[in-house]
Symmetry: C2
Subunit: 286 residues, 2 copies
């Protein structure tokens, strides 16, 4: 049962009570749904997964897009159904290569003043060279519109083909995606900030993270240059891990986080916070 399904399930527990006249009774209730019988440890024999993968997480499961009934006994309609499902079935894999911007001027009070430091520019250059060495047919590069992300993207682009399409998006700007669990003492944004940023970063997730469209014929590699909170939230959401756990991860500046989305909608995290292509002296995270 996912955290989402659990929430929907609340208030649906029906209890049959054999009553005793005029008395208040306290009973121990055991929930009846098999989904609720969760193994106390991973290695007991009565294993039930505590979190079921939602295969239609991006609302692009082929048979969820097809209107004709698959139970229709008419062979002609049945054939139509199968053809439509086939037509809506993705064939290609999408690779999303998420890059955190480089080290920047923490003393800046405005976004414009939070430009990359010398170290940050060096990091971005190393990241660009690594992407070049990986030698993939990149489809495009998208960056957040914040100064440090734009600067990082522009340095990376020097190492990539001149005709690579470039996009900027406000959806990818840094923010407070969701109150972290456990909370962090030193980082307590206002509730209104989570309220505003949270929906925007979730919107970014839904925009960029989905299986390939059925007409995509070859695997694609897209570079997304953005921010630590945004990337960590994306990773939790993509893996269907509880998103409030995002602060249990940390990302180095200029690091590569690689998420692969298969045609089936399955998601695999292939690297998180990879900065091994930088000499240790060039690594920073704060």
């Amino acid at each position: 049962m996912t955290w989402r399904q659990r929430a929907q399930g609340l208030g649906k527990v029906v209890v049959g009570v054999s009553a005793v006249t005029g008395a208040l009774v306290a009973i121990y209730l055991q929930k009846k749904s098999p989904e609720d019988r969760i193994a106390a440890t991973s290695w007991t024999t009565n294993f039930k997964p505590s979190i079921i993968w939602d295969s239609n997480w991006d609302k692009r499961e082929p048979d969820s897009l097809v209107k004709v009934s698959k139970d229709n006994p008419d062979p002609k309609q049945q054939k139509d159904y199968e053809n439509l499902v086939m037509k809506n079935t993705p064939k290609a894999t999408r690779h999303l290569i998420l890059i955190r911007h480089g080290n920047y001027n923490l003393d800046g009070e405005t976004d414009q003043m939070r430009y990359l430091t010398k170290l940050g520019r060096e990091q971005a250059e190393l990241t660009g060279l690594r992407l070049q060495a990986l030698n993939k047919q990149y489809l495009k590069l998208v960056s957040s519109t914040m100064t440090r992300a734009v600067e990082t993207a522009d340095i990376i682009l020097k190492s990539l083909p001149k005709d690579l399409p470039v996009e900027r998006s406000d959806l990818l700007r840094e923010g407070a995606p969701i109150p972290p669990e456990p909370p962090l003492g030193s980082w307590r944004p206002e509730k209104q900030q989570f309220f505003e940023d949270g929906a925007r970063i979730e919107a970014a997730f839904r925009h960029y993270f989905h299986r390939a469209s059925p007409d995509q014929t070859t695997d694609s590699y897209e570079i997304i240059v953005c921010h630590a909170n945004v990337i960590r939230y994306f990773v939790c959401r993509a893996l269907q891990f509880p998103p409030e756990g995002w602060l249990r991860m940390s990302l180095n500046h200029g690091s590569i986080t690689w998420v692969t989305i298969r045609p089936s909608g399955r998601v695999v995290l292939r690297a998180l916070g990879e900065a091994g292509f930088m000499p240790p002296a060039k690594i920073s995270s704060m």
Copy 2:
């Protein structure tokens, strides 16, 4: 509430029922605990975390180790209590550097025949050089007793100080930690394999993953050379993410996965599957 706490909580829901004579009544029950009111999406205003961090996950929370009551009004006893808690409070950070073995002979039928390939030996050498470049005061290196892990460890050791303590452990051998969710069509071990390996890999987690002991005075770096399934299960368990999600990650051969455990018991994943220190031509995962 973690998956573990949820499981422990089952059967503990006490319901006060105002009874009706001789009747069977069906009531809709709404659980009263605020922990159970879970937000359906991360960005709604009624946010409650779906998974609460268990700060005593390693059973080493200082005040859980102290017997004297903190509610005792006697000032002498109160002072004793505070001293005992202080004495049991860790001060140092533990870094666990998890290394996957190198590429190996997949055609081998016995463990001995599943030795490193030429590529696998090159990967291990690159990993060793990276650990050397990171230049930490490593406390020790532990490896699984399987051939490919021992070989990888021995190659890595050539780049590390001669007097570094080395351990081998059967607990770290590759296996089937827990049935993955979603299941993988091509990988369906026997139930008995999960039954046997699952407890052993969980035992390995409990042995190696915990906050520093109170008498550890400086931060420590330990290298653990083992296997992809074992490392991915460790990461899920350490981050308190559902362990059946372990196959949502993938690890390159010779890659570094870095987990930091703070004195407070907080855990941070600083890198997963990092192989950026290898030229792209040397990277493999299968």
